[in-house]
């Protein structure tokens, strides 16, 4: 019985462990003061959606010490979407830690139907061009179909998630996927317990050498004749293909990472 009580304790501990980050998250959100992080100049969101997104962006931003910003524009002056993003950053002196600090900006140019993602300072390091490309790929289908709210939520969540990984790691590595980890653990458990069940009845401990008469056995004749060689070649797929924008530097002298695309 001692063993089963130990297991119950372990499971309780496990449950508390799972619940803990949720508690932490709400606690942090209450303490933080609200900033304006959503600039819906194109009027894609209603008031309710706007409030919800702004709260969400504030909550997630605290954890990564980065302002997660959304800008939508009708672009009446017909400016370039990258330039628009840079000027916006310079003008509003955005940043979580200081004016012109850590920030990630998603800009929607509704006139040219273009989208641009930029990461500044900490966000430039943690959300480099490759990662911003990944974020963009995730949200483009929703933007194209007009589901802006969903796209913005995904953007905030993905930006937050990716900033949790060290810059040199691939954030979509299967090893970091919680479901994958769960599946692998269940398989490991199943295999080990299965082995225990199979081996409980005793196992065969003789091998091919047990009854072999080594003195009289052996290879009498052998031949290994070379015939021919075949060679096949395969092109190595390069990852850094398709330079869709990339980063740059604002007129105020702040360098950033970037990803650009249309919808």
């Amino acid at each position: 019985m001692r063993r089963s009580s130990a297991i119950v304790t372990f499971l309780c501990f496990f449950a508390v462990f799972l619940a803990f980050p949720l508690v932490m998250k709400t606690g942090e959100a209450a303490a933080a003061e609200m900033k304006q992080l959503v600039y819906d100049d194109a009027g894609l969101l209603n008031q309710e959606e706007y409030d919800e997104l702004n709260v969400m962006a504030n909550q997630y931003g605290v954890r990564r010490e980065t302002d997660i910003i959304i800008l939508t524009s009708k672009n009446t002056e017909n400016a370039d979407v990258e330039k628009m993003t840079e000027d916006f950053y310079d003008k509003h002196a955005l940043g979580y830690d200081k004016p012109h600090g850590n920030a990630v900006i998603l800009t929607l140019d509704m006139k040219n139907r273009e989208v641009y993602l930029a990461g500044f300072y900490k966000a430039k390091m943690y959300l480099d061009d490759d990662r911003l490309d990944k974020v963009r790929a995730k949200i483009i289908p929703d933007i194209a179909s007009g589901d802006y709210m969903l796209a913005f939520q995904k953007y905030i969540q993905t930006a937050d998630k990716y900033m949790g990984f060290r810059p040199d790691m691939n954030p979509d590595n299967l090893l970091f996927n919680g479901w994958f980890q769960l599946a692998v653990s269940l398989i490991i458990g199943g295999i080990i317990v299965g082995m225990m069940a199979i081996r409980s009845g005793g196992r065969v401990t003789v091998n091919r050498q047990t009854y072999e008469d080594a003195g009289t056995s052996g290879v009498l004749e052998h031949r290994d004749q070379y015939l021919h060689t075949t060679v096949t070649k395969q092109k190595i797929a390069k990852n850094n293909s398709g330079g869709s924008g990339g980063g740059g530097t604002t007129s105020g002298g702040h360098s950033h990472s970037g990803s650009r695309g249309s919808f």
């Binding site: 089963s4 297991i7 499971l11 496990f14 980050p21 998630k161 949790g164 990984f165 060290r166 040199d168 790691m169 954030p171 590595n173 090893l175 970091f176 919680g178 980890q181 769960l182 692998v184 653990s185 490991i188 458990g189 199943g190 080990i192 317990v193 225990m196 069940a197 409980s200 009845g201 005793g202 196992r203 065969v204 401990t205 003789v206 091919r208 047990t210 009854y211 072999e212 008469d213 009289t216 056995s217 052996g218 290879v219 009498l220 004749e221 052998h222 031949r223 290994d224 004749q225 070379y226 015939l227 021919h228 060689t229 075949t230 060679v231 096949t232 070649k233 395969q234 092109k235 190595i236």
Partner: protein, 343 residues
């Protein structure tokens, strides 16, 4: 028909084979006789075909019912040693025997210890307090000597990959491979008793062949013995089947340098040299648990226990949950150390 018994020349009690000293010993007066020095009454007997199953105990006169395979047993009334000579003579004479090295008490102790070790067995089973019976049994085996002449033709490949420029190259070298192998196996044991489960008996191996003795009836005193149900010709296919995987793995080991192997022609000629009729020592344990009877077998020389114990679902669940939980946490920890973030 003749029954052989072993009475002590000193006091008239029954003498039995003692697994510790390897002698025929008298429990009453302590007399020990060297088995090799006493004359074997078997050799003077004439073989008769009739299948009697009813005998009279020489000591008390009670009727002893036996199964048709039984070659040695103990009188259930007075406990006298009974050896049925006609089932051990003629072509039924065993050539060799490995005597018991583990006594009944040691076997009980070893079995209890084994029960406690089971990770998935229910707690009620682990106490091992429901042993219904433990029987020391000489199980008939054929020890085969088989010679194999093997010829194999095959296509082998060696594969090498390398990168040059933007391309990955896979270079495959093809070889014509030929092997002529002589592979001899000696003393491959195949159980010849109909009653014993083949799979169980296979798991009992190996038996220490350095303990093989030429057969003496006195080794059976105090134990149960059976005669074979199948002869060496009938069991030859099983013996062949048993060594076939050994042969396969031997052939593969001679071609280890190749990445892939494709046999174009494989010829295995297994020659039956001879088989020796041998009695091997097995403790058979009958165990009651939850109204079901479980049978276990223990190697009478090495003490290895085999047989399927009951499995407790509660323990399976507990192990599965803890192993999976620990693996999950470890994976989380690994991904966190790799910079993946804990959540």
């Amino acid at each position: 028909m003749k029954i052989i018994d072993y009475k002590c020349p000193n006091c008239g009690s029954d003498m039995v084979f003692d697994s510790e000293t390897g002698m025929l010993s008298c429990q009453s007066c302590g007399r020990n006789d060297n088995i090799n020095l006493i004359p074997d009454p078997l050799t003077k007997n004439v073989f008769s075909e009739d299948e009697t199953t009813e005998y009279h105990c020489k000591s008390c006169g009670a009727v002893v019912m036996t199964e048709s395979e039984t070659a040695a047993t103990v009188c259930s009334f007075c406990g006298s040693v009974i050896v049925l000579s006609e089932r051990l003579t003629g072509k039924l004479t065993p050539a060799q025997v490995i005597p018991f090295a583990i006594s009944k008490e040691e076997a009980m102790r070893a079995f209890r210890k084994w029960c406690r070790k089971g990770w998935l067995t229910p707690n009620g089973f682990m106490t091992a307090d429901r042993i219904k019976g433990i029987t020391g049994m000489y199980v008939p085996f054929w020890l085969y000597e088989l010679n194999n002449a093997i010829e194999v033709h095959a296509r082998g490949t060696k594969v090498r990959t390398y990168e040059r420029g933007d391309y990955k190259y896979t270079e495959t070298q093809h070889f014509d491979v030929y092997r002529k192998i002589r592979l001899n196996y000696v003393k491959v044991p195949i159980d010849a008793s109909e009653k014993m489960n083949d799979e169980l008996m296979d798991k009992l191996e190996p038996f220490p062949y350095d303990q093989l003795k030429s057969f003496k009836t006195a080794y059976l005193a105090g134990y149960v013995a059976e005669k074979y149900s199948y002869d060496d010709k009938e069991l030859f296919p099983r013996a062949k089947n048993k060594i076939s995987e050994y042969i396969e793995s031997y052939i593969r080991s001679t071609m280890a340098q190749y990445t892939t192997m494709n046999y174009t022609d494989k010829h295995i000629d297994t020659q039956f040299k001879h088989a020796e009729y041998t009695l091997l020592p097995v403790w058979v344990v009958h165990y009651d648990y939850n109204k079901l009877e479980y049978t276990f077998a223990m190697n009478g020389q090495t003490g290895k226990v085999v047989g399927k114990p009951p499995i407790s679902m509660a323990k399976v669940t507990a192990w599965f949950a803890s192993i999976s939980g620990v693996s999950f946490l470890s994976l989380k920890l690994i991904s966190w150390m790799m910079g993946g973030g804990f959540w």
